[in-house]
C-alpha cells in the first residue's frame, strides 16, 4: 500500500477531505437536555456546511433536524450559528468554517434569541415573523393611486433596495444584543423592513409609522448600537444603519418627541457639544430626561432619575472620580475653537435639506492601493500600513 504524505493524510480521492462536525442536538418534546453530537463527513473543502450536515444526516443519523431549501443563499431557510457566529449554512464553505473553528471541529448550533423546535431549527414564527408583522410591512399608498405607475426618483428606489435585499434568514435577530436582554425589542430585521416603507416615496404614512416606532418603548430607541446585526447580515442590509436613519428622519425631519427620551438624549448630546465642544456627562443625563437645556434638570422626570442615581453620583464624587467643579461647570475647548465648532453647526444645520452621503447608492471612488512605503521624515499623520489596517 502506498504511503500518503503526513500533511495530506485526510485527503481522499476526488479532492474530498474529512471534516469533523459538532452539532447541538435538542428535542424539546423529549424532555431530555440539549447535548453535543460529533460526526465526521467526507467532502471537498469548497462544499458548504449545509452539505456536511445533510451528509451526516444521510449517513449516520436520520433524526438530525435542519431546515433548508434553495441551497444557494436565496431562500434564507438554513440560518444557523457556525463556530458561534451567525451564518447561512449553505453559504459557508467548509474550509472557511474549519479555519474559524477553535479546535479543528466545526461547531454548528441553532440561531439565538428564538426557541428551538428541534436541533438546528428555530421557531421563526414565534419571534421573527411576529416582529415583522408588527411594523405594517406593506405599502400604504398615497392617494389617489395613479392610473398608471408612480413616478419616483431612481435614487430613492435604489435606497430602499438595500432593505429589500433581506432574505428573512433571521441571522440578525439571532445575534441582536438588545433582544438578548429585552425580548420585546422589535429588532433589526423588522426595523430594516420598516425603513423599506418609511423610505419609499409612495408611502402615505411616513409620520405615523415613525411616531409609532419612536413611542414604542421597544422601538427604534431600544437599539444599543452594537453593530451585531450589521456583521451578521449575509446580504449587506445594514439593519442598524437603517434604524439610525429611522431615528434621524423621526427626530430631525418630523420633530417627533418620544416618551423614551430618545429624541431628548440626541438633542441633549448634540446641544452639549455645540455649547462645550466636549461632552458634559453631568448635564447629559438630566437633559436626556428633562429636556435639552440647563433647566432640564428641574423637570420632574429628571428629578426622579437624579434621585435614583444619587448613590452612584455620591460614590463617584467621594472616590474623586468626578470633581464637583467638573460636574457643575463641565469642560470646554478653547473659545476660538468652540466658535469654529459653532460655525460648523450653523452652516450644516442651516441647510434646507440634510445632506447625507449614502455609500450604498454612491459607491466608493475607485482608489489606488495605498503604497507600502515609509513615511518621509516629518510627514504628519500619514503612515505606511498594510491595506485594511489604515482606519
Amino acid at each position: 500500500m502506498e504511503m500518503m504524505p503526513a500533511e495530506a493524510h485526510d485527503r481522499r480521492e476526488g479532492g474530498t477531505q474529512s471534516f469533523k462536525l459538532r452539532l447541538r442536538r435538542y428535542d424539546p418534546e423529549s424532555g431530555e437536555a440539549p447535548y453535543w453530537d460529533e460526526h465526521t463527513v467526507e467532502l471537498e473543502p469548497h462544499r458548504s456546511v449545509l452539505e456536511a450536515v445533510l451528509q451526516a444526516r444521510d449517513r449516520f443519523d436520520g433524526s438530525i433536524g435542519i431546515r433548508c431549501s434553495c441551497r444557494q443563499a436565496i431562500c434564507g431557510s438554513c440560518g444557523v450559528r457556525v463556530n458561534g457566529e451567525p451564518a447561512l449554512a449553505c453559504h459557508t464553505h467548509l474550509d472557511a468554517a474549519l479555519s474559524s473553528s477553535g479546535d479543528g471541529v466545526i461547531e454548528i448550533e441553532p440561531m439565538g434569541n428564538m426557541p428551538v423546535l428541534k436541533d438546528l431549527i428555530v421557531d421563526m414564527d414565534a419571534v421573527h415573523w411576529k416582529k415583522v408583522q408588527r411594523v405594517t410591512p406593506w405599502l400604504l399608498a398615497k392617494q389617489p393611486v395613479p392610473e398608471r405607475e408612480y413616478i419616483v426618483s431612481k435614487e430613492s428606489m435604489v435606497d430602499v433596495t438595500q432593505t429589500m435585499a433581506c432574505i428573512q434568514c433571521g441571522a440578525c435577530v439571532s445575534d441582536c444584543l438588545a433582544m438578548e436582554v429585552d425580548p420585546g425589542f422589535i429588532g433589526p430585521a423588522a426595523l430594516a423592513k420598516a425603513y423599506r416603507f418609511v423610505g419609499d416615496p409612495r408611502d402615505a404614512e411616513q409620520y405615523e409609522r415613525l411616531n409609532d416606532l419612536a413611542q414604542d418603548p421597544q422601538g427604534i430607541f431600544d437599539c444599543t448600537h452594537c453593530f451585531k446585526c450589521v456583521e451578521a447580515c449575509p446580504k449587506d442590509v445594514n439593519p442598524m444603519g437603517q434604524i439610525m436613519r429611522l431615528r434621524r428622519i423621526a427626530t430631525s425631519d418630523h420633530g417627533i418627541v418620544d416618551q423614551n427620551n430618545g429624541q431628548r438624549h440626541e438633542a441633549a448630546f448634540t446641544g452639549l457639544i455645540r455649547d462645550y465642544g466636549l461632552n458634559h456627562e453631568a448635564e447629559l443625563l438630566p437633559r436626556s430626561y428633562g429636556g435639552p437645556s440647563w433647566f432640564g434638570k428641574f423637570h420632574p422626570a429628571a428629578g426622579k432619575e437624579l434621585l435614583s442615581s444619587l448613590p452612584v453620583i455620591v460614590k463617584g464624587v467621594l472616590r474623586r472620580k468626578v470633581s464637583p467643579k467638573l460636574a457643575i461647570f463641565g469642560h470646554k475647548i478653547p473659545a476660538a475653537d468652540l466658535k469654529a465648532v459653532r460655525t460648523i453647526y450653523d452652516k450644516v444645520e442651516g441647510r434646507e435639506q440634510r445632506y447625507e452621503l449614502n455609500l450604498y447608492i454612491a459607491g466608493e471612488d475607485e482608489q489606488p492601493e495605498p503604497a507600502i512605503v515609509a513615511a518621509p521624515e516629518g510627514e504628519s499623520v500619514a503612515e505606511s500600513s498594510p491595506e485594511g489596517s489604515n482606519r
Partner: protein, 305 residues
C-alpha cells in the same frame, strides 16, 4: 514615537483616571503624546444619528488638526467609541472625493482642510492597536517589570472597536478583535474568556431603557465572575461607566453581588510596567480594585523577598 493624541471627552470627564494613566504610561513606551486639545467630541455615533454631515464635518476638523501636528506618525485615541465613530466618518470621507470637497468647504472658513492622500492615508489607532502593531508584543514584553503572573484578567472590548470588521480593518492577518487577549498574555496575565467579552455594555441605551442597559452590564460582569476573573480590562471609557460606575445599580438589576473591578487598558499596562496602583488612579474606581492591588503588593513583596 510621536502621535497626535485624541483623549476623548469621558477620559477627561467622568473617568479622569484613564487620561491620567495614559500620560503616565506613554513615556515608559517611548510614546510622545501631542494632545489635540482644540478638537471636539467625535459625537459617539449620536451626532451622526442626528445629522451625518455634522458628525463627518466635526471629525474631519479633528483629522485636519491631527494632520497639522509636525512629525506625528499617526493619530491615537484611548476610547473604543471614539475609534468607531471616527472610523465611520473617515470611511465616508475617504470613499468619495466630491463629498470630501463638500465637507472641506465648510472647514475652509477656519483655514482647515482634511487631506486625503492614497499613499499616506490618515492612520487613526486606538492605544490597543498601537500597542500590538506599532510597539509590538515582543517589545512590550521586554518592558514588563512586574508580570501579571496569576492575575486572571477578562477582556472587555466594547462594540465600536470590534464591529463592523471591514470598516475597522479586522481580518485574518489583523486580528484586532483578539488584541486584548494578546496584550494581557504579553503582560504575563491569564486571559479569562467569558460569554460577554465582545458584547455590548449597555451604555448607549442607559437613558432610553435603563433596565435593559443595566441587565447587559450585570450579565457580562456576572459571566466574568462565574469564570473566576479577578478583574476586567477595557479600552473604552463608556463601557467603564456602565461596568464600574453603574455596577451597584447593575447588581440590583440582576439580583446578585458582582464586585468585579474594571481596569482601563493603560492602567493594566502601567501595572505591568511597574507603576503603582495609586499613581494609575485606581483608587478612583467605584468598585475598588482590591483584588488587583492585593495582587500587585504581594508580587512586589514576593520580588523583594
Amino acid at each position: 514615537m510621536k502621535v497626535a493624541y485624541w483623549p476623548g471627552c469621558v477620559s477627561r470627564g467622568f473617568t479622569p483616571e484613564l487620561h491620567g494613566s495614559m500620560a503616565k504610561v506613554a513615556p515608559l513606551l517611548d510614546i510622545e503624546l501631542v494632545e489635540l486639545d482644540r478638537a471636539c467630541c467625535t459625537g459617539a455615533g449620536v451626532i451622526a444619528e442626528h445629522n451625518q454631515e455634522l458628525a463627518d464635518t466635526l471629525n474631519a476638523r479633528t483629522f485636519a488638526l491631527a494632520q497639522q501636528v509636525p512629525g506625528a506618525e499617526l493619530m491615537m485615541n484611548i476610547c473604543s467609541t471614539c475609534q468607531g465613530a471616527q472610523s465611520e466618518c473617515q470611511e465616508r470621507l475617504d470613499a468619495n472625493a466630491e463629498y470630501r470637497a463638500h465637507v472641506n468647504q465648510t472647514l475652509a472658513s477656519e483655514g482647515l482642510n482634511y487631506e486625503w492622500n492614497p499613499t499616506h492615508p490618515l492612520t487613526n489607532k486606538n492605544f490597543l492597536w498601537l500597542l500590538v502593531e506599532e510597539i509590538g508584543l515582543d517589545e512590550l514584553r521586554s518592558r514588563v517589570r512586574r508580570p501579571l503572573t496569576n492575575l486572571r484578567v477578562g477582556p472587555f472590548y466594547g462594540c465600536y472597536i470590534v464591529r463592523p470588521r471591514r470598516r475597522l480593518g479586522i481580518d485574518a492577518e489583523h486580528r484586532r478583535d483578539n488584541y486584548l487577549h494578546e496584550v494581557i498574555a504579553a503582560l504575563g496575565g491569564t486571559v479569562i474568556d467569558y460569554a460577554g467579552m465582545r458584547k455590548c455594555c449597555g451604555f448607549p441605551i442607559i437613558t432610553m431603557n435603563k433596565e435593559a442597559s443595566l441587565k447587559q452590564a450585570g450579565r457580562h460582569l456576572g459571566d466574568a465572575v462565574d469564570a473566576d476573573a479577578d478583574c476586567l480590562v477595557t479600552p473604552c471609557p463608556l463601557c467603564h461607566l456602565n461596568l464600574d460606575l453603574q455596577q451597584p445599580l447593575a447588581e440590583k438589576t440582576v439580583g446578585r453581588r458582582l464586585d468585579m473591578p474594571v481596569l482601563h487598558l493603560p492602567q493594566l499596562v502601567g501595572l505591568a510596567l511597574g507603576l503603582e496602583p495609586q499613581e494609575l488612579g485606581m483608587g478612583r474606581h467605584v468598585v475598588k480594585p482590591t483584588s488587583v492591588i492585593d495582587w500587585s503588593t504581594s508580587v512586589v513583596a514576593g520580588a523583594a523577598a
